[in-house]
């Protein structure tokens, strides 16, 4: 398996082997400015919770300009991990039911109280009918991430995956490290793609960039 490219987007920077959009500020301001600078027309972005925005935007940067973008496909999985689950949005939802005298539970907030919604947002945007799954770990453990994503390729349909660590503790503190991984043996000097092998060392290096 080969890592074709990666993006690391955090509250204050974006690091990638792909072209990175201009941005200003930090936290939610960074997300909005980078989204605007990338020139994507996708009004639904503004309805997403911060976890989804971070995962969505990092994936947009990862895939921008790639061949056959938006052609429906079933062979690409979206497999993401984090440690805070959807707690940031969970807290927002709690506020809508905190006061019995002002009890207005919000469906638009509630729907994001599941961490896997971000995988659905990415699948919807890119027309991926493949596997989508979300795992919660105590920490960004390269061993678990490497094993679970590698195991996902046991599905005979799956030939590539968007995968990585997408975590959000509050609306200004988030981290999205996404990889495009393909089911082919890594060859140095390969004619197509390049990249690096999908293994614990490389995952750790990119997570720590």
């Amino acid at each position: 398996m080969t890592i074709r490219s990666y993006v690391k987007l955090t509250s204050d920077r974006i690091v990638s082997d792909r072209p990175v959009p201009c941005f200003s500020g930090t936290g939610r301001e960074l997300l909005l400015s980078a989204f605007r600078a990338s020139g994507i027309s996708y009004p639904k972005f503004h309805k997403m919770d911060t976890l989804s925005k971070a995962g969505f935007l990092a994936t947009e940067i990862l895939l921008e300009g790639s061949d056959g973008r938006f052609v429906p496909r079933e062979d690409r999985a979206v497999i993401l991990f984090n440690s805070a689950s959807s707690l940031c949005d969970d807290r927002h939802y709690c506020k809508t039911i905190a006061d019995p005298g002002n009890w207005f539970p919000s469906p638009a907030v509630f729907v994001y109280t599941l961490p896997n919604i971000v995988t659905g947002e990415i699948a919807i945007r890119n027309k991926y009918y493949g596997e989508t799954c979300f795992y919660v770990l105590p920490e960004p453990d390269p061993e678990s991430i490497c094993r679970i994503v590698s195991d996902a390729f046991q599905d005979r349909m799956t030939s590539s995956a968007i995968c990585g660590w997408v975590d959000c503790t509050d609306d200004d503190t988030f981290e999205a490290v996404v990889f495009l991984v393909e089911d082919c043996i890594y060859e140095e000097n390969a004619l197509h793609g390049g990249g690096m092998p999908w293994n614990m060392e490389n995952i750790r290096t990119i997570l720590n960039k």
């Binding site: 689950s85 807290r91 896997n116 989508t132 919660v136 105590p138 195991d151």
Partner: protein
Amino acid sequence: MENRTVRVISDNIVSPLGLSSGANWQSVYRGRTCLALHEGLWGLPEPFCASLFDRDSIDGECSGAGLPDGLTFFEKTALLSASAAVRESGIDPSSESVIFIISTTKGNVSLLCEPGEYAPGRETLHASARLIAEHFANPNMPVVVSNACISGLCAQIEAMRAIRSGRYDYAVVTGADCLSPFIVSGFQSFKALSPEPCRPFDLGRKGLNLGEAAATLVFAAEECCSDSAKNSWIAAEGAVRNDANHISGPSRTGEGSFRALQYVMEAVVPEELAFVNVHGTATPYNDEMESIALSRAGLSEVPVCGLKGYFGHTLGAAGVLETIISMKAADEGCIPATAGWRENGVSCPVSVSNECRRTEKKTFVKLLSGFGGCNAAMLYRKGGER
């Protein structure tokens, strides 16, 4: 290594209907349910119909089972179920060859609204998973699958893969969720709840009921099974597919469910199936979508059954609980009755019944769908090779 056969070596269900898989299956067989209308509970302004645990009796069971003090209610139900299944399996849970996989949507989320005496951080899903793994002195990093309502099948698929790849020999999969104002009010805001016991696939269905449960399956690689387990249920195939359509509304074409079904049916013909145990939440859109997916997958003639009329929708537990009931039913040659169903209310033909039907077949499919557009199907068969 990727050809290892993965078998079920023990199971448990803890639900308002009973504290073992057998007791729960007997309740289903006899048509019992704990679905009831709750008015004014937890200060909720609107009543809701749900299947809820008796808190005091669970506390009593925990003391009896020797579980530690200071557990949250969610942790109690999960540990009760995991302990019973691990004990029955005879495995050494402290071994490096065992992985714990927890399936839950919201875990301890109620602590966000009412933290009580618990330390900050206890509300995270991984804190619950760690607590469960540490209870069994398991040395591996526990994994939580939180993939909405299909978590229970995703966790089993991950267990199957982890054993097939040779990385682990055993996997303990525990699915659990308990209800609180957080979850109930959210489903109310979605106008998704039925004011009466739900009626899967029925013409008059009005929505879903929520339910509480914890359920555990212990899986093992074939070569690690005792002789008595060599004829047990096999997790044969599993697939997860997305609708790529909407984050909360089911696909009008049943896209993800159809594709997941198509994948797991590659190695079998419809005639081999005893039944498909559907998601069957009894919301108008879900059941309609499933009928379309089943029809597209060529499964219109295969008997279909849904269990939400007994347990309600048990969220992260559903995939594990409904798989176990399906196994117990097929063991006894039964296709479980779909409680609440009277008259077909979906556009594609489906073979549903509110009475228990007989079958000699020992192969079935479990189907689930969830928010985020995700869908999962698993194929199980009993006996020989996979």
